[in-house]
Symmetry: C2
Subunit: 120 residues, 2 copies
DNA sequence: ATATTGATTAGAGTTTACTCTAAGTCAAGT
DNA sequence: ACTTGACTTAGAGTAAACTCTAATCAATAT
C-alpha cells in the first residue's frame, strides 16, 4: 500500500496529477486511518493502463468514460470493448501518420546531409 | 496565388489558424494590392510540411525555431538537420509506444471478447 | 520542544494551441 | 444604393490537462 508520493514516484507522474485524476474519478484510492490516500497493486496497474492510454493520445474525457464503465461492473464489457476498439483504430491511424512522417524526414535529412557534405 | 480562405480550404485548417501561424512567424504570406494575404505554392508546401510536424506532435515552439532557421538561410542547414533528426527520434519513440499499446489493446480486447462470448 | 517532511483541502493559475469577437474596409453583384 | 461575403486588426476567450498556492495537520528527527 503506497502513499501518494510513492505512487507518483513509481509511475513517474506527480502527486498533483494523481489528485487531479481522483477529482476526475479516473482513480479512487483508499484512505488510511489518518485520511491519507493509499494506492494498492490494483490501483497501480490501473494507473499504468491509464498512462498507456494517455501516451497514445486518448483524451481524459474518454478515459473517464472507460473508468466509469469499469466501475459499473461486468455488464458494461461490451461497451468497454467498443471504446477500446475505437481507440485501437486511432492508434493505427497514428501509426500510419508517424510512419509517413518518419519516411519524409528520412528523405529530407538525407537531402540536407548531401548539401552540407558537398559544402565542406 | 490563394487567398486565406482558399488556403485554409486546401489545407483543411481554419483561416484563424493561418493568421495565428503568421503571428507566430511560422508562415509569412505575401500581400496583394488590397492588403489581403496571398499564399503561393511555396507557402502551401511549407504549410503541408508544418502540418506533418504538428501531426507528429512537434510543439509550435520547435516549429517556430525551425522556421526561423529556414528564414536565416543556407548556413543554418546543419542546425536544421539537428532539429529534424531529433524530431525523427521522437517519432521513433512514439512509434514504439503506439506499437506496444496496440498489442496491449489487442490482447485486452481479445480477453473481453472471450468473456462476452462465453456469457451468451 | 521544535523543525522538517509529507500529507490534506479548495480553489486559483499556467501552458499550449488555437478560436472567436468586434469593428471595420473593400469589391462585386442586384 | 445596398447587401453580401471575404478580408483586415487587436485583443479577448476557450479547452485540455495539468500545476501550483495557501493554510493546515500529523508523524517523525534533532
Amino acid at each position: 500500500m503506497l502513499t501518494i508520493g510513492e505512487t507518483a514516484e513509481v509511475l513517474g507522474i506527480s502527486a498533483h496529477t494523481l489528485r487531479y485524476y481522483e477529482k476526475e474519478r479516473i482513480v479512487l484510492p483508499l484512505r488510511d486511518a489518518g485520511g491519507d490516500r493509499r494506492y494498492d497493486e490494483s490501483h497501480i496497474s490501473w494507473l499504468k493502463f491509464v498512462i498507456k492510454l494517455k501516451e497514445t493520445q486518448m483524451p481524459i474525457a474518454a478515459i473517464q468514460k472507460y473508468a466509469s464503465l469499469v466501475r459499473e461492473g461486468e455488464h458494461t464489457a461490451e461497451a468497454r470493448v467498443k471504446l477500446l476498439a475505437e481507440h485501437k483504430r486511432s492508434i493505427r491511424a497514428q501509426l500510419e501518420t508517424l510512419t509517413a512522417a518518419d519516411e519524409m524526414l528520412e528523405r529530407k535529412i538525407a537531402g540536407y546531409r548531401t548539401l552540407i557534405g558537398s559544402s565542406r
